[in-house]
Symmetry: C2
Subunit: 168 residues, 2 copies
DNA sequence: TCGAATTTTCAATAATTTTTGAAAATTAAA
DNA sequence: TTTAATTTTCAAAAATTATTGAAAATTCGA
Protein backbone atom coordinates (compact mmCIF):
# COMPACT_ATOMS: atom_id res chain seq x y z
CA UNK A 1 0.00 0.00 0.00
CA UNK A 2 1.27 3.44 -0.90
CA UNK A 3 1.74 6.15 1.71
CA UNK A 4 -0.90 8.45 0.27
CA UNK A 5 -3.47 5.67 0.27
CA UNK A 6 -2.50 4.55 3.76
CA UNK A 7 -2.83 8.10 5.03
CA UNK A 8 -6.30 8.39 3.57
CA UNK A 9 -7.34 5.13 5.23
CA UNK A 10 -5.92 6.20 8.53
CA UNK A 11 -7.64 9.57 8.50
CA UNK A 12 -10.98 8.19 7.44
CA UNK A 13 -10.92 5.37 9.98
CA UNK A 14 -9.82 7.60 12.80
CA UNK A 15 -12.67 9.88 11.85
CA UNK A 16 -15.20 7.07 11.98
CA UNK A 17 -13.83 6.00 15.36
CA UNK A 18 -14.16 9.53 16.65
CA UNK A 19 -17.91 9.37 16.30
CA UNK A 20 -17.88 6.42 18.72
CA UNK A 21 -15.70 8.35 21.10
CA UNK A 22 -17.93 11.35 21.53
CA UNK A 23 -16.07 13.67 19.17
CA UNK A 24 -17.24 14.50 15.70
CA UNK A 25 -15.92 13.00 12.53
CA UNK A 26 -14.11 16.07 11.24
CA UNK A 27 -12.52 16.86 14.56
CA UNK A 28 -11.11 13.33 14.66
CA UNK A 29 -9.91 13.65 11.07
CA UNK A 30 -8.08 16.88 11.80
CA UNK A 31 -6.52 15.17 14.78
CA UNK A 32 -5.53 12.18 12.65
CA UNK A 33 -3.96 14.40 10.02
CA UNK A 34 -1.90 16.21 12.62
CA UNK A 35 -0.86 12.99 14.33
CA UNK A 36 0.81 11.69 11.18
CA UNK A 37 2.33 14.98 10.10
CA UNK A 38 6.04 15.29 10.76
CA UNK A 39 5.72 19.08 10.71
CA UNK A 40 3.26 21.63 12.05
CA UNK A 41 0.41 22.51 9.70
CA UNK A 42 -1.55 25.67 8.99
CA UNK A 43 -5.29 25.94 8.66
CA UNK A 44 -4.86 26.18 4.90
CA UNK A 45 -2.90 22.93 4.85
CA UNK A 46 -5.74 21.19 6.61
CA UNK A 47 -8.39 22.75 4.39
CA UNK A 48 -6.53 21.43 1.38
CA UNK A 49 -5.77 17.98 2.67
CA UNK A 50 -9.20 17.25 4.15
CA UNK A 51 -11.26 19.21 1.64
CA UNK A 52 -13.14 21.20 4.22
CA UNK A 53 -13.92 24.86 4.66
CA UNK A 54 -11.93 27.41 6.59
CA UNK A 55 -14.63 27.83 9.23
CA UNK A 56 -14.83 24.13 9.78
CA UNK A 57 -11.09 23.76 10.29
CA UNK A 58 -11.06 26.71 12.61
CA UNK A 59 -13.86 25.47 14.85
CA UNK A 60 -12.54 21.95 15.10
CA UNK A 61 -9.02 23.13 15.83
CA UNK A 62 -10.41 25.24 18.63
CA UNK A 63 -12.23 22.22 20.07
CA UNK A 64 -9.10 20.09 19.83
CA UNK A 65 -7.21 22.75 21.72
CA UNK A 66 -9.95 22.78 24.39
CA UNK A 67 -9.54 19.04 24.69
CA UNK A 68 -5.81 19.52 25.16
CA UNK A 69 -4.96 17.42 22.12
CA UNK A 70 -3.55 20.08 19.83
CA UNK A 71 -1.57 23.23 20.35
CA UNK A 72 -0.60 26.31 18.43
CA UNK A 73 3.04 26.74 17.63
CA UNK A 74 4.73 29.87 16.42
CA UNK A 75 7.22 29.56 13.64
CA UNK A 76 9.68 32.47 13.76
CA UNK A 77 9.32 34.78 10.83
CA UNK A 78 5.96 33.30 9.80
CA UNK A 79 2.77 35.24 9.88
CA UNK A 80 0.48 32.23 9.86
CA UNK A 81 -0.35 30.09 12.84
CA UNK A 82 0.83 26.49 12.89
CA UNK A 83 -0.59 23.57 14.81
CA UNK A 84 0.76 20.30 16.15
CA UNK A 85 -0.98 17.36 17.81
CA UNK A 86 0.13 15.47 20.83
CA UNK A 87 1.88 12.50 19.22
CA UNK A 88 2.12 10.23 22.24
CA UNK A 89 -0.93 8.04 22.11
CA UNK A 90 -0.84 7.36 25.86
CA UNK A 91 -0.85 11.05 26.49
CA UNK A 92 -3.78 11.37 24.11
CA UNK A 93 -5.67 8.65 25.97
CA UNK A 94 -5.12 10.15 29.41
CA UNK A 95 -6.00 13.58 28.19
CA UNK A 96 -9.28 12.29 26.79
CA UNK A 97 -9.92 10.32 29.96
CA UNK A 98 -9.34 13.37 32.13
CA UNK A 99 -11.63 15.55 30.06
CA UNK A 100 -14.42 13.01 29.88
CA UNK A 101 -14.22 12.42 33.60
CA UNK A 102 -14.62 16.14 34.11
CA UNK A 103 -17.35 16.56 31.52
CA UNK A 104 -19.35 13.39 32.10
CA UNK A 105 -18.60 11.46 35.27
CA UNK A 106 -18.38 14.39 37.67
CA UNK A 107 -21.74 15.94 36.74
CA UNK A 108 -23.39 12.50 36.73
CA UNK A 109 -22.18 11.85 40.26
CA UNK A 110 -23.47 15.20 41.43
CA UNK A 111 -26.90 14.35 40.06
CA UNK A 112 -26.95 10.91 41.65
CA UNK A 113 -26.28 12.51 45.04
CA UNK A 114 -29.36 14.64 44.60
CA UNK A 115 -31.50 11.82 43.31
CA UNK A 116 -30.63 9.48 46.15
CA UNK A 117 -32.40 11.92 48.46
CA UNK A 118 -35.74 11.27 46.76
CA UNK A 119 -38.68 11.40 49.16
CA UNK A 120 -40.98 8.44 49.68
CA UNK A 121 -41.41 5.21 51.55
CA UNK A 122 -38.50 2.82 51.09
CA UNK A 123 -40.98 -0.04 51.41
CA UNK A 124 -42.63 1.02 48.18
CA UNK A 125 -41.06 -1.15 45.53
CA UNK A 126 -41.06 1.70 43.02
CA UNK A 127 -39.06 3.86 45.40
CA UNK A 128 -36.81 0.99 46.35
CA UNK A 129 -35.97 0.08 42.76
CA UNK A 130 -35.14 3.70 42.03
CA UNK A 131 -32.95 4.23 45.07
CA UNK A 132 -31.18 0.92 44.49
CA UNK A 133 -30.34 1.90 40.93
CA UNK A 134 -29.11 5.34 41.94
CA UNK A 135 -26.99 3.95 44.77
CA UNK A 136 -25.53 1.30 42.50
CA UNK A 137 -24.46 3.96 40.06
CA UNK A 138 -23.02 6.08 42.85
CA UNK A 139 -20.92 3.20 44.10
CA UNK A 140 -19.83 2.35 40.61
CA UNK A 141 -19.01 5.94 39.83
CA UNK A 142 -16.86 6.30 42.91
CA UNK A 143 -14.87 3.22 42.01
CA UNK A 144 -14.52 4.25 38.40
CA UNK A 145 -13.42 7.67 39.55
CA UNK A 146 -10.61 6.17 41.62
CA UNK A 147 -9.63 3.80 38.87
CA UNK A 148 -9.37 6.59 36.34
CA UNK A 149 -7.35 8.68 38.76
CA UNK A 150 -4.87 5.87 39.17
CA UNK A 151 -4.67 5.48 35.42
CA UNK A 152 -4.17 9.16 34.75
CA UNK A 153 -1.69 9.58 37.60
CA UNK A 154 0.36 6.54 36.73
CA UNK A 155 0.42 7.70 33.21
CA UNK A 156 1.49 11.18 34.15
CA UNK A 157 4.43 9.59 35.92
CA UNK A 158 5.12 7.37 32.98
CA UNK A 159 4.88 10.33 30.68
CA UNK A 160 7.14 12.46 32.82
CA UNK A 161 9.65 9.67 33.01
CA UNK A 162 9.67 9.15 29.23
CA UNK A 163 10.05 12.85 28.76
CA UNK A 164 12.93 12.93 31.20
CA UNK A 165 14.80 10.37 29.19
CA UNK A 166 14.95 12.81 26.32
CA UNK A 167 16.92 15.25 28.38
CA UNK A 168 19.52 13.06 29.97
CA UNK B 1 -37.77 15.77 45.32
CA UNK B 2 -40.73 13.58 44.40
CA UNK B 3 -40.24 10.16 42.83
CA UNK B 4 -41.90 11.07 39.57
CA UNK B 5 -39.69 14.12 39.16
CA UNK B 6 -36.57 12.20 40.15
CA UNK B 7 -37.39 9.50 37.62
CA UNK B 8 -37.75 12.08 34.87
CA UNK B 9 -34.40 13.59 35.75
CA UNK B 10 -32.75 10.22 35.85
CA UNK B 11 -34.11 9.18 32.47
CA UNK B 12 -33.30 12.42 30.78
CA UNK B 13 -29.77 12.58 32.17
CA UNK B 14 -29.03 8.97 31.34
CA UNK B 15 -30.25 9.71 27.84
CA UNK B 16 -27.94 12.69 27.50
CA UNK B 17 -25.05 10.57 28.75
CA UNK B 18 -25.86 7.91 26.21
CA UNK B 19 -25.08 10.29 23.39
CA UNK B 20 -21.56 10.61 24.83
CA UNK B 21 -21.27 6.86 25.05
CA UNK B 22 -21.97 6.09 21.45
CA UNK B 23 -25.59 5.03 21.87
CA UNK B 24 -28.50 7.21 20.93
CA UNK B 25 -30.56 9.25 23.32
CA UNK B 26 -33.72 7.17 23.14
CA UNK B 27 -31.92 3.87 23.50
CA UNK B 28 -30.32 5.16 26.68
CA UNK B 29 -33.68 6.43 27.93
CA UNK B 30 -35.34 3.09 27.37
CA UNK B 31 -32.48 1.48 29.23
CA UNK B 32 -32.80 4.01 32.06
CA UNK B 33 -36.52 3.39 32.35
CA UNK B 34 -36.01 -0.36 32.57
CA UNK B 35 -33.19 -0.01 35.09
CA UNK B 36 -35.44 1.73 37.59
CA UNK B 37 -38.51 -0.41 36.99
CA UNK B 38 -39.18 -2.99 39.67
CA UNK B 39 -41.19 -5.04 37.18
CA UNK B 40 -40.81 -6.02 33.53
CA UNK B 41 -42.40 -3.60 31.07
CA UNK B 42 -44.15 -3.99 27.74
CA UNK B 43 -43.52 -1.91 24.64
CA UNK B 44 -46.74 -0.05 25.36
CA UNK B 45 -45.56 0.84 28.84
CA UNK B 46 -42.44 2.36 27.37
CA UNK B 47 -44.33 4.21 24.65
CA UNK B 48 -46.52 5.77 27.32
CA UNK B 49 -43.79 6.63 29.79
CA UNK B 50 -41.31 8.04 27.30
CA UNK B 51 -43.81 9.50 24.85
CA UNK B 52 -42.33 7.83 21.83
CA UNK B 53 -43.74 5.81 18.97
CA UNK B 54 -44.14 2.07 18.78
CA UNK B 55 -41.56 1.72 16.03
CA UNK B 56 -39.04 3.68 18.00
CA UNK B 57 -39.46 1.55 21.12
CA UNK B 58 -39.25 -1.60 19.08
CA UNK B 59 -36.03 -0.68 17.29
CA UNK B 60 -34.28 0.54 20.40
CA UNK B 61 -35.29 -2.50 22.39
CA UNK B 62 -33.82 -4.66 19.67
CA UNK B 63 -30.55 -2.74 19.82
CA UNK B 64 -30.43 -3.03 23.60
CA UNK B 65 -30.89 -6.76 23.27
CA UNK B 66 -28.04 -6.87 20.73
CA UNK B 67 -25.87 -5.05 23.23
CA UNK B 68 -26.80 -7.64 25.83
CA UNK B 69 -28.30 -5.05 28.16
CA UNK B 70 -31.95 -6.04 28.00
CA UNK B 71 -33.79 -9.29 27.66
CA UNK B 72 -37.24 -10.52 26.83
CA UNK B 73 -39.13 -12.27 29.59
CA UNK B 74 -42.26 -14.32 29.25
CA UNK B 75 -44.97 -13.85 31.79
CA UNK B 76 -47.14 -16.96 32.01
CA UNK B 77 -50.64 -16.37 30.73
CA UNK B 78 -49.74 -13.06 29.10
CA UNK B 79 -49.88 -12.51 25.40
CA UNK B 80 -47.59 -9.48 25.36
CA UNK B 81 -43.82 -9.56 25.57
CA UNK B 82 -42.15 -8.09 28.61
CA UNK B 83 -38.64 -6.72 28.95
CA UNK B 84 -36.16 -6.33 31.79
CA UNK B 85 -32.78 -4.62 31.93
CA UNK B 86 -29.66 -5.89 33.55
CA UNK B 87 -29.78 -4.10 36.89
CA UNK B 88 -26.23 -4.68 38.02
CA UNK B 89 -24.30 -1.64 36.92
CA UNK B 90 -20.98 -3.52 36.90
CA UNK B 91 -22.48 -6.08 34.60
CA UNK B 92 -23.74 -3.27 32.41
CA UNK B 93 -20.28 -1.73 32.29
CA UNK B 94 -18.49 -4.95 31.39
CA UNK B 95 -21.09 -5.79 28.80
CA UNK B 96 -20.61 -2.41 27.14
CA UNK B 97 -16.85 -2.78 27.40
CA UNK B 98 -16.93 -6.18 25.76
CA UNK B 99 -19.13 -5.01 22.93
CA UNK B 100 -17.16 -1.87 22.24
CA UNK B 101 -13.92 -3.83 22.26
CA UNK B 102 -15.41 -6.13 19.67
CA UNK B 103 -16.95 -3.36 17.59
CA UNK B 104 -14.23 -0.73 17.81
CA UNK B 105 -10.88 -1.87 19.13
CA UNK B 106 -10.60 -5.16 17.26
CA UNK B 107 -11.27 -3.71 13.78
CA UNK B 108 -8.99 -0.77 14.52
CA UNK B 109 -6.13 -3.11 15.39
CA UNK B 110 -6.66 -5.11 12.23
CA UNK B 111 -6.38 -1.95 10.17
CA UNK B 112 -3.22 -0.80 11.97
CA UNK B 113 -1.58 -4.11 11.13
CA UNK B 114 -2.23 -3.47 7.47
CA UNK B 115 -1.17 0.15 7.60
CA UNK B 116 2.13 -0.61 9.31
CA UNK B 117 3.14 -2.47 6.18
CA UNK B 118 3.06 0.73 4.12
CA UNK B 119 5.70 0.83 1.41
CA UNK B 120 8.33 3.54 1.28
CA UNK B 121 11.67 4.61 2.59
CA UNK B 122 11.81 4.73 6.37
CA UNK B 123 14.28 7.57 6.07
CA UNK B 124 11.60 9.76 4.53
CA UNK B 125 10.23 11.78 7.41
CA UNK B 126 6.68 11.55 6.03
CA UNK B 127 6.86 7.77 6.04
CA UNK B 128 8.55 7.70 9.41
CA UNK B 129 5.96 9.92 11.07
CA UNK B 130 3.19 7.73 9.68
CA UNK B 131 4.75 4.43 10.69
CA UNK B 132 5.57 5.77 14.15
CA UNK B 133 1.98 6.86 14.69
CA UNK B 134 0.59 3.53 13.51
CA UNK B 135 3.01 1.53 15.64
CA UNK B 136 2.26 3.68 18.66
CA UNK B 137 -1.42 2.95 18.26
CA UNK B 138 -0.74 -0.75 17.79
CA UNK B 139 1.25 -0.93 21.00
CA UNK B 140 -1.37 1.05 22.83
CA UNK B 141 -4.15 -1.09 21.43
CA UNK B 142 -2.49 -4.28 22.55
CA UNK B 143 -2.07 -2.99 26.07
CA UNK B 144 -5.60 -1.66 26.20
CA UNK B 145 -6.84 -4.98 24.92
CA UNK B 146 -5.14 -6.82 27.76
CA UNK B 147 -6.31 -4.31 30.29
CA UNK B 148 -9.90 -4.62 29.19
CA UNK B 149 -9.67 -8.39 29.25
CA UNK B 150 -8.48 -8.30 32.84
CA UNK B 151 -11.30 -5.95 33.71
CA UNK B 152 -13.97 -8.02 32.03
CA UNK B 153 -12.62 -11.30 33.37
CA UNK B 154 -12.23 -10.08 36.94
CA UNK B 155 -15.68 -8.73 36.75
CA UNK B 156 -17.10 -11.90 35.37
CA UNK B 157 -15.70 -13.64 38.41
CA UNK B 158 -17.05 -10.96 40.66
CA UNK B 159 -20.40 -11.22 38.96
CA UNK B 160 -20.48 -14.97 39.19
CA UNK B 161 -19.59 -14.80 42.84
CA UNK B 162 -22.34 -12.29 43.58
CA UNK B 163 -24.77 -14.43 41.69
CA UNK B 164 -23.71 -17.47 43.66
CA UNK B 165 -24.57 -15.73 46.88
CA UNK B 166 -28.17 -15.61 45.80
CA UNK B 167 -28.38 -19.37 45.66
CA UNK B 168 -26.74 -20.41 48.88
C1' DT C 1 -1.71 54.62 12.41
C1' DC C 2 -2.88 52.13 8.23
C1' DG C 3 -3.86 48.24 5.54
C1' DA C 4 -3.12 43.62 4.05
C1' DA C 5 -3.00 39.04 5.88
C1' DT C 6 -5.08 36.01 8.77
C1' DT C 7 -8.42 34.29 12.02
C1' DT C 8 -12.98 34.06 13.94
C1' DT C 9 -17.87 34.18 13.96
C1' DC C 10 -22.37 32.82 12.73
C1' DA C 11 -26.66 32.74 9.85
C1' DA C 12 -27.96 29.97 6.17
C1' DT C 13 -27.68 25.52 4.13
C1' DA C 14 -26.58 20.76 3.73
C1' DA C 15 -26.01 16.25 5.52
C1' DT C 16 -27.04 12.97 8.76
C1' DT C 17 -29.60 10.75 12.19
C1' DT C 18 -33.76 9.82 14.53
C1' DT C 19 -38.64 9.28 14.78
C1' DT C 20 -43.08 8.37 13.19
C1' DG C 21 -46.97 5.72 11.87
C1' DA C 22 -49.25 2.83 9.02
C1' DA C 23 -48.83 -1.45 6.44
C1' DA C 24 -47.01 -6.07 6.52
C1' DA C 25 -45.73 -9.96 9.06
C1' DT C 26 -46.08 -12.89 12.86
C1' DT C 27 -48.12 -15.15 16.69
C1' DA C 28 -51.28 -17.74 19.34
C1' DA C 29 -56.06 -18.32 21.09
C1' DA C 30 -60.41 -19.92 19.67
C1' DT D 1 -58.07 -22.98 9.94
C1' DT D 2 -59.57 -18.01 11.06
C1' DT D 3 -59.00 -13.91 13.42
C1' DA D 4 -57.59 -10.54 16.52
C1' DA D 5 -53.62 -9.18 19.15
C1' DT D 6 -49.06 -8.03 18.88
C1' DT D 7 -44.63 -7.17 16.80
C1' DT D 8 -41.72 -5.73 13.06
C1' DT D 9 -40.43 -3.13 9.12
C1' DC D 10 -39.36 0.83 6.53
C1' DA D 11 -40.34 4.96 3.57
C1' DA D 12 -41.29 9.53 4.55
C1' DA D 13 -40.98 13.43 7.74
C1' DA D 14 -38.91 15.75 11.52
C1' DA D 15 -35.19 16.88 14.32
C1' DT D 16 -30.58 17.37 15.05
C1' DT D 17 -25.91 18.18 13.91
C1' DA D 18 -22.23 19.60 10.87
C1' DT D 19 -20.54 22.56 7.21
C1' DT D 20 -20.06 26.44 4.40
C1' DG D 21 -18.60 30.91 3.14
C1' DA D 22 -18.71 35.58 3.44
C1' DA D 23 -18.56 39.39 6.64
C1' DA D 24 -16.51 41.05 10.86
C1' DA D 25 -12.77 41.10 13.90
C1' DT D 26 -8.09 40.72 14.91
C1' DT D 27 -3.23 40.76 14.24
C1' DC D 28 1.03 42.44 12.86
C1' DG D 29 4.43 44.51 9.65
C1' DA D 30 5.54 48.71 7.56
Amino acid sequence: MKLSEAKQQFISTWGAMGTHWGINRTMAQVHALLMISPDPLTQDDMMAQLNISRGNVNMNIRDLIDWGLVERVLIPGERKEYFVAEKDIWKVATQITKERKKRELDPMMKLMDQLSKVEGDKKDKEVKAFVDAVNGIKKFGTQADHMLDVLVKSDENWFVSTLMKLFR
